[in-house]
Symmetry: C2
């Protein structure tokens, strides 16, 4: 199957490559030194670009940090895709598959480290926390709430307040491992298998509370 011909996909434009290198360097330096301890100089050095290039892409440190949050949170958003098709197959299976994917996304070390950094800096730099909040769970809550309202119309769920139901779903899935990871650091001791179990248990509790007439789960046995 192999040939000697070089692969022919488009080379990545230079500006995009540099922008990505700066964001990767920023992630490394911010997580190592904290927000206050990070300078644009050091990011430029780690990215192996000039300081002017950094400023051409990002107006200042706050903008760069905000873009880093956007890029990192977007990486955890792969899970949003399946939401729109909830209700095509068995709802419990769909919710479990989504919950596992979502939880694994949020629990990536880089995402957790960034969340800790933002929380630690929120008093001095409230805009950082606001960006993390708005781009992260607030967005996911809106998407899920829309889906849950439709599922309730179709009889799959029993929901009067779709936003509240969406938040309960999210936190039944995330809270236990996320709290461990926030307070115990990278050595939080939650394995990949544990994550799947927490996701499944959260979905079971959610369906026991909110399952509709077409989806009548067995009484939950915690």
């Amino acid at each position: 199957m192999s040939t000697d011909r070089p692969t022919t996909h488009e080379p990545e434009p230079r500006a995009i490559r540099k922008r990505r290198a700066i964001l990767e360097a920023a992630s490394e330096v911010f997580l190592r030194n904290g927000y206050v301890g990070t300078s644009m100089d050091e990011i430029a050095a780690v990215a192996a670009v000039s300081k002017q290039t950094v400023y051409k892409h990002f107006a200042d440190k706050a903008t760069l940090f905000q873009e880093l949050i956007t890029a990192t949170v977007r990486d955890t958003d792969g899970a949003q895709g399946p939401i729109v098709s909830f209700g095509v197959g068995p709802l419990d299976e769909e919710l479990r598959a989504f919950a596992r994917q979502f939880l694994h996304g949020v629990m990536q070390p880089r995402v957790l480290q960034l969340r800790r950094l933002v929380i630690g800096e929120v008093t001095r730099f409230p805009a950082l926390g606001r960006a993390f909040y708005d781009l992260g769970l607030a967005t996911m809550t809106g998407t899920l709430a829309t889906a849950f309202a439709r599922l309730a119309d179709e009889g799959h769920l029993h929901v009067d307040g779709p936003r509240l139901a969406a938040e309960h779903f999210i936190w039944l899935v995330l809270s236990i491992p996320l709290n461990r990871a926030m307070l115990l650091g990278d050595d939080h001791g939650v394995s990949t298998d544990d994550l799947d179990r927490y996701a499944d248990a959260g979905v079971s509790a959610f369906l026991a509370a909110y399952g509709g007439t077409t989806h009548r789960p067995r009484r939950l046995k915690g």
Copy 2:
């Protein structure tokens, strides 16, 4: 009713008074300057005691910080009292009263500020996060799990895994406002009335999922 006689309660021993003054000063300085930016000198100055006195009470900065966590978390523990008597009256009312008290305790500004500080420092100082974790929700989870196991034996709850049920209860009550407070800072915009509503909604979802034969809630309408 008033008399001219001076009140006669025991004067607080000098050592206890000084210890408390040091802890109050430590809380102020740590929250203002962060863990790294805080020195025992500054704490002594704010507490208006000598540096020797500080060291007589607390061996080093790490010990002092750990004691501060212990004292702060203990302040949120008033809620533990009612747990042992769950099941005497109507369980939904008891759980709501407990959930409200617990949530108000965790959401005190000082407790939130300390939690943010600990999370931000956890990579460099894992012992701080471990103390917060063990003294805080881990303890509460154990107490609740014991109570839920008994309530399940009595038919009030349907619970196979009391620890998991306890964690689901805690996070159904805490998560939504706590996440806001972590990422949005002291201006999180959650009012006292909001806290009561979140507590009640968490209890309703919990009982819809875990309510037993003697406590059959209406189907939850989120």
